[in-house]
Amino acid sequence: MKILKWTIGLIIFAAFFYFNFFIYDGELMLQLINVILFSSLLVLIRVIIGPTAADRIVSVDILGVLILGLTALLSIYYNESFFIDVGLIWALLSLIATLAFSKILEGRQLDD
């Protein structure tokens, strides 16, 4: 069972990297953007199947920081600087959501 899991994961990652870097002929920046999009897909898998509530809170926090890097790459690709603003606001909102949810998970109220 464990060997089956390892094999499936290895096949998925190898297929993604092979199709991204050898078959898909975009620019280098688009290939790097695809790697970050694949990472955020893995984070969304953890949000869906996470066994406890703390897993989901951690995943949402991580997703905010990943999107900040993604918007920095998009701003270089399109040569427009306002994409980084979108990422900053996204990371700020995910920080506030993480603090609020962790306080509720601990059993305290928001004005405590």
């Binding site: 951690v58 920095a72 270089i76 962790s102 306080k103």
Partner: protein, 120 residues
């Protein structure tokens, strides 16, 4: 020349991002996932923003990326500490292969000393 250095920094950052997310999917426990994901993804996004600064110089790109780096350094450890404390306080169990739990021992020790003080 600055383009090459910036692309190298961005590639290092993306490698750290991907490995951190792989740890988030793979590891068996909330605390292990927190340990792997938070540090690696923070450093990876910092690497990407540093590459943007090196590639574009001190234009509007560079200053916005600098603000982003300062914000990540201040915010990510705060969020990770809050989530870890809340997860341990709400009694989420550790993985079966974990060996030691110092925070639980500290709490038991504190409770014992409080009881002794009340009895005296």
């Amino acid at each position: 020349m600055t383009d090459i250095i910036g692309i190298i920094l961005i590639c290092i950052g993306i490698a750290f991002d991907f490995l951190g997310v792989l740890g988030l999917v793979r590891l068996p426990d909330v605390y292990n996932r927190l340990q792997a994901a938070t540090k690696c993804v923070t450093f990876g996004s910092m690497g990407i923003l540093l590459g943007v600064i090196v590639m574009q110089g001190f234009t509007s790109f560079g200053f916005k990326a600098l603000i982003g780096i300062v914000f990540i350094i201040l915010s990510a450890p705060t969020a990770a500490h809050a989530v870890a404390r809340a997860a341990h306080r709400s009694k989420i169990p550790l993985a079966k292969i974990s060996v030691v739990d110092k925070y639980e021992e500290d709490k038991e020790l504190k409770d014992e000393t409080l009881k002794e003080e009340v009895e005296v």
